[in-house]
């Protein structure tokens, strides 16, 4: 007979502290899974993610791909009869997962972009040309136009340790 896993309340407490403060309210009705647009297309079951967080099954929940199939659409959050703030729990778990090195390269690239340029999308010559044609300022009046603003952004990343997190991939 397979051994039953022991709950780990210490991990559950960490989830609560990281922002998943309503995790213990869940009674596993499955309204979330039934409402989930991503779960319609995949084997992702948001109810199970919440259950694993609730029981403190860190090794099941943090490495799981499921954690990253949530589009944060908030449909489950809206419909939950217990008021469980499910997206906040997912976010708390993701923050913990990336610090264990579970960071997809595609996401690391996005985060690297904001560290280096202050934006997620690049400014190409063709974008400038179209902006000019539309009567807009060629370079948007954002960090792209202000060197000191980009410096501030880089310092925020340093102060928060975000640049190091992204560079190391959490490992």
């Amino acid at each position: 007979m397979a051994e039953a896993k022991e709950p780990n309340p210490e991990f559950t407490r960490k989830v609560v502290e990281a922002g998943g403060k309503t995790v213990n309210l869940c009674f596993q009705c499955g309204t979330c899974t039934g409402s989930c647009p991503s779960g319609r297309q995949t084997a992702f079951r948001v109810r199970k993610v919440v259950r694993r967080a609730q029981l403190g099954f860190e090794e099941d929940v943090l490495p799981s791909e499921d954690l990253w199939l949530c589009t944060t659409c908030f449909t489950c959050y809206e419909r939950c009869p217990r008021g469980v703030e499910i997206v906040d729990i997912i976010m708390a778990l993701r923050n913990m997962a990336v610090r264990k090195g579970y960071m997809a390269e595609a996401h690391r690239k996005v985060a690297k972009g904001i560290c280096e340029t202050g934006h997620l999308v690049t400014l190409r010559d063709e974008d400038k040309a179209l902006r000019k044609k539309l009567g807009l300022q060629e370079t948007p009046p954002t960090v792209f136009s202000h060197a000191e603003a980009l410096e501030q952004m880089k310092k925020i990343a340093a102060v928060c340790g975000f640049d190091k997190l992204v560079a190391s991939g959490g490992k």
Binding site: S38, I114, L134, C160
Partner: protein, 283 residues
């Protein structure tokens, strides 16, 4: 004339600048003045940045809010993602002095800035409905075609509704009402209100999964006879516009509400920037 700090974000100014020029023109004609936020950055995007580090996410958002605060204006955005980040962070920081103190320490150390907790964040659809009003919109419509429109609300315009308090998250009407005021017919379709698939970092990490959600929406819109998809978010806009080309079987043009209003108000078509759309717009 009401004045707002206009938050540009990333996808609109860089990939669909026609949404920006349309927004500027449409708002001007409705008596809303938009003032640029010099040195603003990415909101930052709730999908990846909030998933990685909520303290960094809030600190960068607080910097953007502090820029608007210094201008003495509330923020206006035309993007659900930017709205989600800026509204939610403003909500947290405006109501929680302890958290504001913590985030302000980062902001001071890094940028010599501080956020005082006084800025409200507005989504342009909600502003059009509540402040400008349907009558003022109707008065600007120059005629043109009555198109069957599949309105896509996206997720973060209305939700989480406990803090956004704009409309019923299950059966909303404000966006449909504006589209109808612009002379279009807003369609009822299956699972209207479902996510486009792009959010939460899903488009970047598992684009095939995102595209399956997009396809389900497109099938439902097609079944209802949609002649145009109308969105209020450049990320949903990108997901549909690029997604249709990837899926090959759909050809429904995708317009941001600003562009639809631009058409209805009779703006010059070359101000709408439709030539960069992947799905040809011939309306």
């Amino acid at each position: 004339m009401a004045k707002y700090a206009f938050f540009l974000g990333c996808i609109m100014p860089l990939r669909y600048p026609g949404i920006e020029s349309s927004t500027r023109e449409v708002m001007k004609s409705l008596g809303v003045e938009l003032v640029d936020m010099q040195g603003a950055s990415c909101c930052p995007a709730p999908g990846v940045m909030r998933s990685f580090d909520q303290t960094y996410w809030m600190t960068v958002a607080a910097r953007n809010l502090a820029i608007a605060e210094k201008m003495g204006m509330d923020v206006l955005t035309i993007c659900n993602g930017c709205f989600d980040t800026l509204f939610e962070v403003a909500h947290k920081l405006n109501h929680d002095p302890e958290l504001r103190k913590k985030i302000n320490k980062n902001l001071r150390d890094a940028a010599g800035m501080e956020y005082g907790g006084t800025v409200n964040v507005r989504h342009f659809v909600e502003l059009l409905y509540r402040d400008v009003g349907l009558e003022a919109i109707r008065a600007k419509v120059k005629g043109g075609k009555n198109l069957k429109a599949a309105v896509h609300y996206g997720c973060h315009f209305l939700k989480p509704s406990n803090i956004k308090k704009i409309d019923d998250a299950e059966r909303p009407h404000v966006f449909d009402d504006i589209v109808e005021a612009a002379g279009m017919t807003s369609l009822v379709y299956k699972d209207k209100g479902m996510c486009c698939g792009a959010g939460g970092g899903v488009r970047a990490r598992t684009p095939d999964v995102a595209l399956k959600m997009t396809k389900e929406n497109l099938v439902n819109m097609t079944a209802a006879g949609a002649e145009v998809i109308v969105d209020c978010c450049p990320f949903c806009h990108l997901q549909y516009d690029v997604g249709e080309v990837q899926l090959k079987e759909f050809k429904i043009p995708v317009l941001h509400l600003s562009q639809l209003l631009g058409l209805a108000f009779g703006l010059e078509k070359d101000k709408l920037g439709l030539e960069v759309h992947q799905v040809k717009v011939n309306l």
